[in-house]
């Protein structure tokens, strides 16, 4: 079932087009990574989905409900974390979560229970009675994640959820997101930390200058942008095998690295299909001790740069 969908979503600020005819379809129970350079339109799209901004044209649906600005029915089903979560500094962390629970109409007993669960989840239990004004940026980010989860949302919109966190905090948040997905929550997260996206997102959309450049499963995307490079490792020198490879018409280039007795070959193929057929046979016939053989996929970062970086003026 579709969790988030938009058709021709466009947002203009005067002459500036922040979103240009965005079409997206995101299935339930996935973590969708929304990528793009600064100013690409990620935050604008998130704000429209969260009912905080109106589109100039086009429509969007979240959990089957058409997105209308400040729709209370829709907002009771979603969670939203802005890029820089802001709190009432005179409140403590627990007080803020209690306030959010009251907004969602939870009973006092449920609020106490949920607050304890969420404070535990984001590792803020010990600081729950401290005023938010004394929180570090990472603590505020974690409190922001907790408040977005108060209503056990069906869809969670997160704008750069890991941007203010240290590597340990990032890892914890990403693990939390994976757990939430397992509990049937759809997560829509924008991020510029591509390693994080690659780690947890099943599908991604890359946006540039308000336009969707690509929407795809992460694995499919990496396969699509694979550079036909094969990595082969032998447990002995492989000079004669390298010469043999270089004589093949379907091989473009062979790079060799030798570390001790181990030879590491990076074979870039002109013809991927022939390489896939020929290489295993040649390795078997070479008499060398094979240590590793794999097709090298690009990282998401490399794909991102290829898609977006080349479009820069």
């Amino acid at each position: 079932m579709t969790a988030i969908r938009c058709q021709g979503l466009t947002k203009r600020y005067g002459s500036i087009v922040a979103l240009d005819n965005l079409d997206l379809t995101i299935e339930e129970k996935v973590i969708f990574g929304f990528l793009g350079p600064n100013g690409a339109g990620k935050t604008t799209a998130l704000k429209i989905f969260a009912g905080l901004s109106r589109s100039t044209s086009g429509k969007a649906w979240v959990v089957g409900e058409e997105v209308v600005s400040h729709s209370r029915s829709l907002q009771s089903k979603i969670g939203y974390l802005p890029e820089e979560p802001a709190f009432y500094n005179w409140m403590t962390g627990r007080e803020y979560l209690t306030f959010v629970g009251q907004i969602f109409g939870l009973s006092s007993r449920d609020i106490v229970k949920r607050c304890n669960e969420l404070l535990e989840l984001v590792d803020l239990s010990r600081d729950a009675s401290r005023r938010v004004s004394g929180y570090s940026r990472g603590m505020r980010q974690r409190l922001g994640i907790a408040q977005a989860l108060m209503n056990k949302p069906s869809v969670l919109f997160l704008d750069e959820p890991c941007s203010a966190l240290d590597p340990l905090g990032r890892a914890e948040v990403l693990e939390t997101l994976v757990r939430l997905k397992e509990q049937a929550t759809t997560i829509f997260m924008s991020s510029h930390i591509l390693a994080d996206v690659e780690r947890v997102c099943g599908t991604v959309g890359i946006i540039d200058r308000g336009r969707l450049v690509v929407e795809s499963g992460v694995e499919e995307l990496l396969q699509r942008f694979a550079h036909h490079v094969f990595e082969i490792e032998f447990e002995e020198p492989a000079a004669s095998f390298v010469r043999l490879l270089e004589s093949m018409p379907w091989v473009e280039r062979v790079a060799v690295e030798e570390a001790g007795n181990v030879s590491r070959l990076m074979v870039r193929a002109r013809d991927e299909t022939r390489a896939k057929l020929e290489l295993p046979r040649m390795i078997a016939e070479s008499g060398l001790t094979l240590r590793q053989y794999q097709m090298v996929l690009p990282t998401l970062e490399e794909v991102f740069i290829e898609l977006v970086g080349n479009r820069k003026d």
Binding site: L52, S76, P82, F104
Partner: protein, 249 residues
């Protein structure tokens, strides 16, 4: 609990925790006590060889008139200063977006702010009025409890109108300073209309002169001023709500 009451409670708690309630009460208490004290001892404060001889003896009516005038002037400044950031600063900091991404209506958001400010100023006006009344009784004689009470209520309604205008502008713009400036200009213009022949029977600015009349137990009642003022409080709140809900957060 409806979202209005949740937000109202949060607003009122915020007024307490940030000492805004305490400061506003202290301001009104000081000028409530200060007005009769100042008028009683003005002769003693001014050097004997200067204009002291030309200062008349003040009566109870003079004290109440001076108190109502201070309520209109100091109260207006206090109302603008306290209310100008009520929505603008929340939009600027991002807390409004956090709150309004939840199932909260923009109407409840604005109404809760106005209600919490009204309670704060209501408490402050009450404390100031009690102080002023008691000191006036002690130093000048009884000004008439009922008339003093009604005059204070009219002054309070004027300040409620000032708060409603300031909260409305605070929802229009992101800068608290701009909201304060717009409110000051608008309220000064409205106060100016109280002196115009065709407007003095309708302008909220005329609430203070009506309060003066009530305090001195003379002059006609201006029911249209009351009706128009209440209507304008409602209209400015509705305009503020309608404009605010169209704003990008």
């Amino acid at each position: 609990m409806s979202s209005f009451f949740v937000l109202f409670r949060k607003e009122f708690k915020g007024q307490l925790r940030t000492y805004r309630l305490l400061i506003v009460v202290a301001v009104f208490f000081v000028f409530g006590l200060g007005t009769p004290l100042l008028l009683k001892y003005l002769h003693a404060l001014v050097p004997a060889d200067s204009v002291a001889t030309s200062i008349p003896e003040f009566t109870t009516a003079d004290v109440v008139k001076s108190y109502i005038s201070s309520l209109g002037q100091l109260g207006l400044i206090a109302a603008i200063l306290v209310a100008m950031g009520s929505i603008a600063s929340e939009r600027e900091s991002g807390t409004a977006a956090m709150t309004l991404s939840k199932p909260v209506g923009c109407g409840s958001f604005i109404l809760a702010k106005l209600a919490a400010l009204a309670v704060t100023f209501g408490v402050a006006i009450a404390v100031g009025a009690v102080g002023c009344y008691l000191y006036t009784v002690v130093l000048f004689g009884n000004p008439g409890g009922f008339h003093f009470f009604v005059a204070t209520l009219l002054g309070a309604l004027y300040l409620l109108f000032c708060l409603a205008v300031t909260v409305m502008y605070s929802g229009f713009v992101k800068s608290p300073i701009a909201a304060g400036g717009l409110s000051l200009v608008t309220l000064a213009a409205i106060a100016g209309t109280a002196g115009l022949p065709g407007m003095k029977d309708y302008s909220p600015g005329a609430l203070l002169s009506w309060a003066d009349n009530v305090a001195s137990a003379g002059g006609p009642n201006s029911w249209w001023v009351l009706i128009v003022s209440v209507a304008l409080v409602i209209i400015t709140t509705v305009i503020g709500w309608q404009v605010f809900k169209r704003k990008e957060l």
